[in-house]
Structures are given as C-alpha cells and as structure tokens.
Symmetry: C2
Subunit: 283 residues, 2 copies
C-alpha cells in the first residue's frame, strides 16, 4: 500500500494519535529528503520495530547558516516518494515552511551541553535550528520512537538531551551509519563531490578506522588526533576538526565511558562529517 | 473528593492521557504556589469548563534572575493544598526541581517577539525560564486547555507565541485579573508590601484606569504615558516602565487593533506589575 502524503501538521497528528490510541506502535523518521541508503535503513529498521511508520521530508531553513547550502541542498521529492513506496511507510509528512514556522514565529529551542564544540562551533545556530524543528516535528508526529542515523553523532546527542530536558514522550533510536563499499559514510552531500574529491573522501573513514585501532592499542588522545589530521591533510582535505571525545557529553574522554572519534573536513566546496564509536578504556 | 498529589511527571502524564482517552476534557492551571484569589479564580474557571483539572505548584528557579526573590518567594504548600481541596481539582502536580531539570539539563526555550521589551528588558532570561518550564509542564500535563491570568499580560503573549510556534496541542485561556477592593491586582508578591507601601500600591491600577479614560477620549500615547509616570512618581513609586503597546505583539500600537497599557514599578524592595486592555481605536 502506498503511503499517504500529508502536509498539515494537525492532520498527521490526528492520524498518529488515532493509531496509537488503537494500540499500535508508531515509528517516525525525520529527514530532509534526498533519501539515500542510510535513510532507507532507518525506515527499514522502523518498519521492523513498529506497526506504523511516518517519514517526514522537510529541508529546514533554520539549521543552515548564512552562506551554507540551503539553496542548493538536493530536493528530490518524486524520487524520495518512489523510494518510500517500496517500504512499509504509512505516512509521508511534507509540511510547508509556513506550517513549521507560522507567521511571526519567534521561538527557538536552544541546547547547550552536547551542542557545544565541533559542529556547534563551526556552524553557529545549526543545532538550535535542528532542536527547534525536531521539537516541532515531534509535536506534529507524536510517535513512540524516532529514528536517527549515527552519522550525525553530535546531532543525536543534542536531540536526546532535548528530549530528556523537555520531557518529550518519545524514544530516540540511533541506527548505525550506512557506508559506501569503500567506507565513505552515506550523505546527501556526497552528491556534491567532484569525481576526484569523491575518491579522496574515503580518507575520512580511513582516519577513523586508524584512530579506532590506535585507541584499542592504547595510544594517547593527542597522538591519535595528530595522526588523523596528518592523514586527512595528506589527501588534500581541509580539516575543520578531529577529536576523540566522550560519546555522550562530547566533552573530555572519561575513563570507563564510551568515547567517539569525530572528524569534519572540506573537499572543494563540500563539507563532510563522520565518526566512529570507541570502546570504553579501563584505567 | 480531595485532589491527589503527584510528583512524578510520568505519572501525571499517564493520568491526564487516560482521562482524555476516556473522552474527558482536561484543564491545567500552572502556578508557583502562594495561591491567592487570582489563582483560585483560574482554577474555578477551569473547573467550570473542564471535566478534570490539574494544578501544578512549582517555584521555577530559571525564571528568577540573580538578585531576584527566588529564595524569599512565598512557599505555602499546606495552605495551597487546603485552598485547592475546596475546589473540584483532580490532580495537584508538585514536581521536584530534579524532575523538571534533569541532571545535566541544557535545553532552553527562547522566545523573541512578544518577549522583547518591558519585563524582557528588565528581567533578562525571565521569559526564557518561563517558556522552558511551561513547555516542560505542558508535556507533563498534556491537557486540552491551560489557564493563565491576564495580570502577567506579556507572559500570556509569550506563552501563546511558544504554543503556536512549537505546535503544542493545548489551548491557552487568559482569565481576567482579580483585584483587591481598592483595585490592586492580586499577586503573591503583595505579601511583601509594608503597610504604607500597600496603600500607595493602588496608584498602579489608578494610573491604568486614568490611561484607559484618556485613551478612550482620544489622547495621544506619549501624553498618556507621561501622565501615568507622573501619577506613579508622585506616590513615590520607582517606575520601571509605563507603556501603551499593541496587545498582541507588544510592539507599537496598531490602528484598529487592541492595545494594552502596561505598568511596572517598585515600592521599597517589592516590584509590582499591572496592565489594562484598551479598546481598538479606529482611524
């Protein structure tokens, strides 16, 4: 059965509420469209775990900074709907900007903590835009579970923090990053890459694999970060940051707690990020 | 039947959701306790309009600035519960600070627009604290209708703006200010007033009545504001602001739209606010 496309927040809210009232478990996958295999893996996981699945497609202007790629962000609605029609999706929510940001809108959800540093530093206002639209989406699609990709690791920490702090009644499910055969993390922005940049982009995931091996071998954080940076720069990638951080708070690594290796860099005018979870180190 | 007191947000959320699922209309009155006749009028209106009523009592630290009266704010829980026991209240929600602001809490709801100017200028961060806690409370107590007093007029505009922008599924009901026989607006802070300040405090409502008469007689905004200030200062009140503003946006008066007269001043160490709606002026 093809999904029904809904643009009105009140309508999808009513549909989802009715489904839950009938005892069904509802899953929700918020996206900005330009769906790739990573998104579809989220949707597939949601369909396995839930009775009904909603997918939203909304390119959220408030999470793009001035000079970022809001205008050129790929918009492929017909292809997206076609991809979703092959999966057991019940609702596709495609709100207008005016529905998400009503006339005179003046409210922002601002998260500190895990939103500080890394993407939060490079892209001021980005996580506030993400938190605001995700809060708005969660209130429009009051599902049991919401699915996000681990590729945007810091984003998942910000959303979990917001959900806990505001008491939003939804469980955040983080799904593994889906990768191209050579290891490049799936991203809608990969479509921007010129062929020679595409082949160099593999250095991001290579640097993370190398970091994980060094971490497991007991190397120190500074040494790992330096080696990551060297590898990336040797491939002509302009590094925004490389870091080993606490996986939850994104602050300093804590002995015995999971850590994460983070990387962000630019190839030409395309900016890519990736990450890899590291096992807790004891002592 | 005495109300049941609940401290756990998940528990009251379940109770309210179950009541609504059974087709009952739920009303919610958020308060900081120290209940006076103004609060009780809100509760009474809620009991008239709703099947079940929840009242929250939580002195929210994040809406008090440094040097404000958070520590000395009156806390009269036993008397509050006694007052509520005479009304048809089903639930009294008394969350702990740790429940409202979980460990590591880092999320703020920030409203611009109607939160700018007036209280927003005098009390930086106040409305962000209000919006954050009210959002959290609305998610804990997912009622049909929430009741607020018109005495805190700017606050009602901020909350309505937030509700609309985030799509919170609740109707905001603004109830008339309840006044002492001499016209002083009921406020938990009136309890701070020394006897001589109490008698002078009537100048606030007098200045508003005078402003409304002048407005209806066609006086200009600057003249009305000047007269209000003169009256207040002649009674020894230190004026924080007097203003005639658009009742909705709190910006400049718009011809044909409702306006509001606002006043805030200090008597000794006590700060009081009041307001009065003005009829739209045509032409």
């Amino acid at each position: 059965m093809a999904a029904v496309t809904i643009t009105d927040p009140a309508v999808i809210r009513g549909e989802v509420s009715a489904s839950r009232a009938a005892g069904r478990v509802v899953g929700f996958v918020p996206t900005m469209g330009a769906l790739h295999a990573g998104h579809l893996a989220l949707v597939e996981q949601a369909t396995r775990e839930c009775d009904d699945v909603a997918v939203s497609i909304f390119v959220n202007p408030t999470q793009f900074g001035p000079g970022e790629d809001f205008e050129r962000y790929p918009r492929t609605l017909d292809r997206d709907l076609d991809s979703l029609s092959r999966l057991r999706v019940r609702w596709v929510f495609t709100p207008t900007e005016a529905a998400m940001y009503p006339h005179g809108a003046a409210t922002r959800v601002v998260v500190a903590g895990p939103a500080c540093g890394y993407e939060g530093t490079i892209r001021p206002g980005h996580f506030s835009g993400v938190a605001t639209v995700v809060c708005r989406l969660f209130l429009s699609v009051p599902a049991d579970r919401a699915y996000f990709g681990a590729k945007d690791w810091q984003q998942t920490r910000v959303i979990e923090r917001m959900v806990r702090d505001l008491g939003l009644p939804i469980a955040v499910v983080v799904c593994p990053t889906v990768r191209e055969p050579d290891g490049l993390a799936m991203s809608s922005r990969n479509a921007y890459l010129a062929p020679e940049d595409r082949s160099r982009a593999v250095a991001l995931s290579e640097s993370l694999r190398e970091a994980a091996a060094a971490w497991d071998a007991g190397a120190d954080v500074n040494g790992i970060e330096a080696a990551m940076r060297t590898r990336l720069e040797s491939r002509g990638i302009v590094v925004d940051y490389v870091a080993i951080a606490d996986a939850e708070s994104l602050g300093q690594v804590v002995t015995g707690q999971p850590a994460v290796a983070l990387v962000a860099g630019r190839l030409g005018s395309t900016r890519l990020i990736d990450n890899r979870l590291l096992s807790p180190r004891v002592g």
